[in-house]
């Protein structure tokens, strides 16, 4: 034993101290992690095991004034993917290829979404609004590929499709910047928000609160059980003043015109309710929610967000003449019986101003002047009443300023006259008066402004700030928020002047240029306009209001067809359809079809079209 002398025991002690020190370090580290930092690690473990499947709250519905839903929700199946924790990139590839085959999509983009989900450790929607047969096939995938699951949720649905598109708007995905701003409000990266119109303006009201299921998942992303269920809160419903029948007539009417471009607005002259607002070309908001990225892409590319009805400023042309007439008659500068000889042109200071009827209207007084829209009559009248008075009346009718309807991108048009010129430090010439008197020159108006002015012609001076929301019915039980129209200003004119103007506008429709809007059994009063346009074909205008005999007028309309040519032939039929829809009347001029043939299949048979003469 102990062949080599004494054992160096002190070396053993050093070794033991080293071991004890290492044990102490490990013990301290364990205490730090398990006692001091335990809460943080527990949170991380909780994040690991639970995953949230969000369920979109059904968005608030939008109803028209009669309770017809114009934007609602439909149940839709969505394919979601919950990324597992220990998932590697190469595992995703077969899944992406399988899904691409089932969904008929590009495997590359699918793989990209899957990878993003893994990277951000959050669930993604791979496909939305799946058809039922795909759904059954996909539910089999669930058993093969962990993490893939199907959920039912509410998806926005617009039952009328292309209907008041610019007013209602559409739903779309957020950009990165917008998402960062909205994130604190509970939006998720794949949330859709209102992109235009009411969907955008009332986003907060319509949205509701998303709910969700907190699920326990394992490391592969397989669902184990539901830990927690958070119910969603539906959004608040919005009731519009829009009449879906009038709106549809306006949309379809404008779409059917020669150029298919323009705007139409209808209001109720009694209270300022907006009955219809159409802008063409429009779009189908359902297309943005399509699962086919190609369809969404083509819709986005062809999208015209420009709302002609409020953002398009056009010269009003002859539709401005009733206002000129009212100014002249009310100021007493012109008597209704005063007649003017129209040779087809008008000389002023060596310049010749033409009447649209180059042959001339011969001798015309107020009634025929307006009914035939004689330019020479209005040149003369304009000079008599003066530019300043016309400008004042136009301003009283709300032209040249914003109506302040709560919609984005409204334009105020441009009113010109002696006063405006003076402010700008420029002089006013008689030639300007002539241009103003026939609604040309620098004067531009929007269809909305003209509809409101037409309403004021119908109700004798009440210029409304229109409302388009009747009420918002809150989902959380708050009292309904009711919105009222506002009387913006009143045009003061003599009663006789109103009588004369309204009578003359009725004559325009009954026997003048506006015959295209004639409807037996109704009092229809209007004015056509063919606005000269330096950029191309004339714009076609028609303003009109209508009433049942013995009742006040209940609809005032302005229709504009861009480059539509003659107002009487292009714009007036659109307005006529809107009036018929408003009064719930069948089109007496249309051939009677059996009720069953509701499908819009135009019968290609020759039929007499009793469209009254192509006069204006």
């Amino acid at each position: 034993m102990n062949r080599g002398g004494a054992v160096p025991q002190e070396r053993l002690e050093i070794l033991w101290y080293c071991i004890a020190a290492a044990g102490l370090v490990l013990g301290l580290r364990l205490a730090q992690m398990q006692l001091v930092q335990a809460a943080e690690w527990r949170l991380a473990a909780e994040r690991n095991r639970s995953q949230m499947i969000h369920q979109n709250a059904p968005r608030g519905r939008i109803y028209d004034r009669n309770g017809v839903p114009v934007a609602t929700n439909a149940p839709a199946f969505s394919l979601i993917f919950l990324p597992g924790k220990d998932r590697r990139r190469q595992d995703l590839k077969p899944l992406a290829e399988e899904l691409a085959r089932q969904l008929d999509r590009d495997p590359e983009t699918l793989l990209e979404s899957l990878e993003q989900a893994v990277r951000e450790e959050s669930a993604v929607r791979l496909a939305e609004n799946l058809p039922t047969q795909t759904m059954f096939r996909l539910s089999e995938l669930k058993t093969i590929y962990p993490g893939v699951d199907l959920i039912v949720e509410a998806r926005r649905y617009y039952p009328f499709g292309r209907f008041a598109s610019h007013l209602i708007g559409y739903m779309g995905k957020m950009g990165q910047k917008e998402w960062r701003e909205r994130k604190p409000k509970g939006y998720r990266v794949d949330s859709r928000t209102g992109r235009l119109g009411l969907e955008r303006i009332f986003e907060d009201e319509l949205r509701g609160r998303d709910g969700g299921l907190r699920m326990e998942v394992d490391a592969q992303g397989r669902l184990k059980r539901v830990i927690d269920k958070i119910p969603f809160e539906a959004g608040s419903n919005v009731h519009l003043t829009i009449d879906s029948a009038v709106q549809r007539a306006a949309d379809e009417g404008l779409r059917g015109t020669s150029t298919g471009r323009g705007g139409a607005v209808a209001i109720d002259p009694r209270n300022g309710d907006l009955l219809a607002m159409s802008s063409q070309p429009d779009f189908d908001p359902n297309a943005f929610l399509s699962t086919d990225p190609g369809e969404v892409q083509s819709t986005v590319v062809g999208l015209s967000e420009f709302n002609n009805a409020i953002s398009g400023a056009y010269p009003p042309g002859s539709t401005f003449k009733p206002i000129v007439g009212l100014a002249a008659l009310s100021e007493g500068r012109v008597k209704p019986d005063d007649s003017v000889f129209c040779p087809g042109h008008f000389e002023l200071g060596g310049r010749t101003f033409l009447c649209w009827e180059h042959k001339g209207h011969k001798r015309v007084s107020w009634l025929m002047g307006l009914a035939q829209s004689c330019d020479v009559y209005f040149y003369t009248t304009g000079l008599k009443v003066g530019g300043a008075a016309i400008e004042r009346f136009a301003r009283d009718f709300g032209l040249g300023s914003l109506t302040k309807i709560p919609l984005k991108f409204e334009k105020g048009g441009h009113l010109f006259g002696p006063e405006t010129r003076k402010k700008a430090g420029k002089s006013w010439y008689d030639g300007d008066t002539l241009n103003l008197a026939i609604g040309q020159g620098e004067l531009t108006v929007t269809p909305l402004q003209m509809a409101i002015a037409t309403g004021a012609l119908a109700n004798r001076g009440n210029v409304w700030r229109p409302r388009y929301i009747q009420k918002i019915v809150y989902a959380d039980g708050r009292p309904d928020s009711v919105m009222n129209s506002e009387l913006r200003q009143v045009v003061s004119a003599k009663k006789e002047a109103w009588d004369e103007v309204q009578h003359a506008m009725e004559v325009v429709v009954s026997s003048g240029t506006g015959g295209g809007a004639r409807i037996p059994g109704l009092i229809v009063a209007g004015k056509t306009g063919t606005a000269q346009n330096p950029h191309g074909e004339d714009h076609a205008w028609f303003i009109v209001y209508a009433a049942k005999p013995g009742e006040p007028a209940s609809i005032a309309i302005a229709v504009l067809v861009e480059n539509g040519g003659h107002g009487g032939s292009t714009a007036a039929p659109v307005a006529r359809k809107m009036i018929l829809a408003h009064f719930g009347m069948e089109d007496p001029s249309a051939p009677r079809r059996p009720a069953a043939a509701a499908a819009p299949v135009p019968a290609p048979m020759p039929m007499p079209l009793p469209i009254p003469g192509r006069t204006r």
């Binding site: 054992v7 050093i14 490990l26 992690m33 398990q34 006692l35 690690w41 991380a44 473990a45 690991n48």
Partner: protein, 450 residues
């Protein structure tokens, strides 16, 4: 009469057995089995794991008792056979072994699979103890260290060939510990293991630079460090700097009138340069997965789904256990499969999650008791051989503990070293119990009488 005598001898042995030590081993086996069985309960081959574990446990306890029964000095007497056995089993593994996970480290015999590397380690410790014991009079010679290393070298190289880097690594503290405890010259020991240490840390530093500063320019410090790995002017410059350091140290030492041989200062640049050059060679030989393990240790947040996933999940499991744990069979990290290798290498993290600080400190405490008793056995061993065997085993078990627990708590790289007695692994359990049986034997025979 004979009966009574037999009983006395029996009680004589039992009176000499270290019951504290036995209790620590038993406690570790019980706590480890509980944790391991809970962690493995979600795996698809649970019943097979149960079966294998209890067979290995029964065999291991039998082996422990058997080893206790005969005098340990037989290992020293048969030292040549012990050493030959070590070489044979690791060589046989390389020839007969089945490849699993890229390693040829398992040998299949009579329907049992067996991992010989750990057994080879104990055999090497036994052989080295005998060698160091024989060299007792020349223990201070450099030849002792070099021949000792040459003795262990072949086995380590064969294990590294499997390739099993982490098991090879566990040989190093045992060898160092034994040479240190035997009384080898500290300067020589320091120079040789220092050289090895620097040579290993050089690729580590390169990897740190590559991972932490992937965009470092050539003029920045990490860029300049990386430049030395290309064996060019930068490498020469580094060697020049080492020479300057050695010269400066000599000047400072002589200025301070420190009495050290000038040769010691010449050793500094030689040692550093040689270590740098070997380190560069190792760096170039390093395999991708080994580099990944370094990376996941250095920068665990850099790729959560990749190599460092294990480290983070293990820390989450351990930390979330808190004081009392989530209860056996109810840890979310392990039962839902987030914790990888949860019944083998990361079983300690499962203990932390399901039994909390209470469980981890119990296991750590039992380990410290175990190591304390092994050191006590070394202290009281009847001969130098027993002393050296115990010192070597204490070093290697402590190193495994530090590596495994350090890995679970994020202080050490993912090394793939199991926690002896706690991690699942039949052959590991068997070999560990046999090894611990030797220690018990040495302690029980501390008096030269028996």
């Amino acid at each position: 009469m004979t009966m009574a005598r037999a009983v006395r001898v029996q009680s004589g042995l039992s009176g000499r057995v270290d019951w504290t030590y036995i209790a620590a081993v038993a406690g570790l086996i019980i706590a480890g089995s509980l944790a391991m069985l809970s962690a493995a309960s979600t795996t698809s081959f649970y019943s097979s794991i149960l079966q294998k574990h209890f067979i290995a446990l029964t065999l291991g306890i039998t082996l422990f008792t058997l080893t206790l029964a005969f005098n340990y000095q037989v290992f020293q007497d048969q030292s040549k056979f012990v050493y030959a056995l070590a070489i044979v089993i690791v060589a046989a593994t390389l020839i007969l072994g089945k490849i699993s996970r890229g390693q040829r480290s398992w040998i299949h015999l009579f329907g049992f699979s067996f991992q010989p590397a750990e057994m080879a380690r104990t055999l090497v410790i036994l052989a080295l103890a005998d060698f160091l014991d024989r060299r007792a009079r020349k223990i201070g010679d450099l030849s002792t260290i070099l021949v000792g290393l040459a003795l262990c070298g072949p086995v380590m190289v064969l294990v590294l060939k499997q390739p099993d880097f982490s098991t090879t690594l566990t040989f190093v503290p045992a060898i160092f510990g034994m040479m240190f405890a035997a009384g080898a010259d500290l300067f020589q020991l320091g120079a040789i293991f220092g050289f090895g240490g620097v040579a290993i840390s050089v690729p580590l530093i390169y990897t740190i630079c590559q991972v932490r500063y992937p965009l470092a320019s050539a003029t920045s410090l990490p860029g300049m460090i990386l430049a030395t790995s290309r064996m060019g002017w930068a490498t020469l410059a580094a060697i020049g700097i080492f020479c300057a350091i050695g010269f400066l140290a000599w000047r400072v030492a002589s200025w301070m009138r420190v009495q050290v041989k000038p040769a010691a200062f010449a050793a500094i640049p030689i040692l550093l340069s040689a270590a740098l050059l070997s380190g560069i060679l190792v760096h170039r030989q390093l395999k991708g997965y080994q580099r990944n393990r370094f990376v996941s240790w250095i920068a665990p947040q850099s790729d959560v789904q990749g190599a460092s996933y294990n480290v983070i999940q293990s820390q989450i499991a351990l930390g979330s256990g808190g004081m009392w744990g989530k209860g056996l069979f109810s840890g979310t990290q392990s039962q839902l499969g987030f914790l990888p290798e949860r019944h083998t290498d990361f079983v300690f993290a499962n203990v932390g999650e399901e039994m909390g600080f209470w469980g981890t400190s119990l296991i750590l405490g039992l380990y410290m008791v175990l190591l304390w008793r092994i050191v006590a056995a070394a202290r009281q061993a009847r001969d130098r051989y027993g002393y050296l065997v115990c010192a070597g085993l204490a070093s290697t078990i402590a190193f495994q503990l530090v590596l495994n627990v350090g890995m679970c708590v994020g202080l050490m790289p993912v090394a793939g070293v199991p926690l002896p007695l706690v991690s699942y692994g039949g052959s590991s359990l068997l070999v560990t119990l046999w090894t611990l049986g030797i220690v018990a034997n040495i302690y029980a025979r501390r008096y030269a009488l028996l």
